[in-house]
């Protein structure tokens, strides 16, 4: 870009919104460096995000990998009909929603409580140390987390061998379907609850201390300050995260579950994503699995948009706004 053009754009931009007057060819030439910079990312997304979006047409086909997408015959909504009448699919939907609901109650509040606890630690050094420790498990892979739980709570694990010495045998949380919800929630809490506090701590740091001083003058004790000052400050963040979680209702820890599906059985551990994987990649029923995946993707999209709308209705900022 020559000096001339760049100074020209800089001044005109400062004066008024200029881009309505400049013809688009000129603007394209002016911004060509920016466009070239965006190009690699757009190209990668085009190939690996948008081409597969179009590839969802296999959901309407009698797809066979030997024939290919172009030659496979279209079969209308047959695959979708199979999806909605498949009892395994409906089981997967219900397992997914049960896990989401359970974790909404038993996982979601944990980081808030932890953040309040940590926020009350006054020594900055101690607080940073604890923060560093509780963030850490977020960066471990699910394989590591599940293996750690297996070594502690599994049939050959630490707890089981202690219990065996004490005369109880048969303790194995990793293969027990009845306690599976608790197990995966405990794993999620161990791995991600600590990391979850980061955004709440940031929100707490922005609270004006004058509010606390004023409430003390008005006679508010510790708990009333938390209720009337601290929690209202967290409200927008809590609602934002709640929306994101609701929009993600149909996605529950895919890697976490696929690691444990074999040990605990499909009755409790089959969720939508694992269903799609086993039906498609393992069983080779590609079109059926693609239809199930597409249903999930579209419902998730509707959930995000709906949850965001809801947030606007109750007067919160939500995830995004119409600019």
């Amino acid at each position: 870009m020559s000096t001339d053009t760049s100074t020209g754009t800089a001044t005109s931009r400062a004066d008024s919104p200029p881009h309505r007057k400049i013809p688009w060819t000129t603007r394209m030439r002016r911004d060509r460096t920016l466009l070239i910079m965006v190009a690699p990312a757009v190209l990668l997304l085009a190939v690996f995000a948008y081409v597969p979006m179009a590839g969802n047409v296999v959901a309407w086909q009698d797809y066979s990998p030997y024939v290919g997408i172009r030659e496979s015959p279209f079969v209308g909504w047959a695959n979708f009909a199979r999806v909605f009448t498949n009892p395994l699919f409906l089981d997967a939907v219900s397992n997914t929603l049960i896990i989401t609901a359970f974790q909404l109650v038993f996982f979601f509040p944990v980081p808030i409580v932890l953040a309040l606890l940590l926020n009350s630690v006054l020594s900055p050094g101690l607080r940073t140390t604890i923060q560093s420790i509780v963030y850490l498990p977020h960066f471990f892979s699910w394989v590591i987390v599940v293996t750690i739980f297996q070594q502690i709570f599994g049939g050959a694990g630490m707890v089981a061998s202690r219990l065996r010495e004490a005369g109880y045998s048969g303790f194995d949380l990793m293969t027990n379907p009845d306690t599976f919800l608790l197990l995966i929630t405990a794993q999620s809490v161990w791995k991600d609850a600590g990391w979850g506090i980061i955004i709440f701590l940031a929100a707490l740091a922005t609270v004006d201390t004058q509010l606390y001083e004023a409430s003390v003058v008005d006679g508010a004790g510790r708990w009333r300050r938390m209720w009337h000052v601290t929690l209202p400050a967290l409200r927008p963040v809590i609602i934002l995260l709640l929306i994101l979680r609701l929009g993600d209702s149909l996605t529950v820890g895919f890697e976490q579950l696929i690691l444990q599906r074999g040990a605990v059985g499909t009755d409790v551990a089959e969720v939508l994503d694992t269903f799609v994987y086993y039906q498609g990649v393992v069983n080779g029923d590609w079109a059926f699995a693609a239809a199930a995946g597409l249903v999930k993707g579209l419902v998730s999209l509707a959930l995000v948009l709906g949850a965001n709308k809801l947030a606007h209705l109750v007067g919160e900022a939500g995830v995004y706004q119409r600019a």
Binding site: L45, S120, V143, T147, M158, G219, V281, G297
Partner: protein, 335 residues
Amino acid sequence: MTVRTENYAKKHTPTRLPKQPPKPPPRRSARYRALLRGKNRPVWEEDPNPLGLVVKGVALLVITATVLFPLYTVVLTSFSTQADITRSGGLVIVPGGLSLSAYVQILSGGIVTRATIVSIGITVVGTVLSTTVSVLAAYGLSRPGSFAHRPLLFVFLITMFFGAGMIPTYLLVSNLGLIDSYWSLILPGAVSAFNVLILRAFFMGIDRSITDAARIDGAGDLRILGQIVLPMSKAVVAVVALFYGVGYWNAFFNAMLYINDNAKWPLQLVLRSYVLQGVTLPGSGVGQVDVDDGAVTGLPVKMAVMVLAIIPILVVYPMVQRHFTKGVIFGAIKG
């Protein structure tokens, strides 16, 4: 109606006086109070309840122990001798005989060594590629009013709300001939719109007058990015690079999908098959220990593989950790 008004007044009248005079604070010596309050407590706060302090301290201790204890016992077990493990019946809590033999075994060639090299390669190449592409894209998107700014932004945003799905992505990767190629572990997830938006939000927050001044002095966009914007946003770029790096290092499912040849497996997948599922890996020199005693045997080796998978995170984490709040919050709030 009247009830509601009363309640409202009850709740919200700021000058409401307590019905009973407040309890006088307990008499305490000045030294005890100073000790109780600590040196960081703001003046307006009341003295803390000693019992409350103890409860809080215990809670924090339990929380940190919950995180650290499993790591401690995994690391200790990986350094323990077989005899020690048999004695403790599983993970070792009290150190006994220490030995390096597990590490010698997995690092002297064989499948774990190879998997580690594969994982390191994918992580390095992937992180460099992803971070570079994302920084460029974020800068390219950071000037509202530039050509096709909004449509391009939407190209990124849409991918955050609607994923193509596993099956079409798999079919694409397989049609591109990338099955059993390391590129299948890098390219499909190379660009995360979320990370691009984190970077973009940060770049947009940089004072416009600085970049404009450089432009007047004749610097092009590439130069502005390299010499002004990047040095000002080291923290957030480091965080995004860490996110990408950890993502590549920890991924196992994409390898489960795309890599059939287990000689090409990354470390996480080896960890899953050998350690979690207890499969004996052929020709590895690792599985051979597994034959004798059932579940407990080979535990130091298994735990050594775990430690191997954790070490890079423990090394990089402290360097980036202090930037988290800045990087993450920016993206979370503006993205």
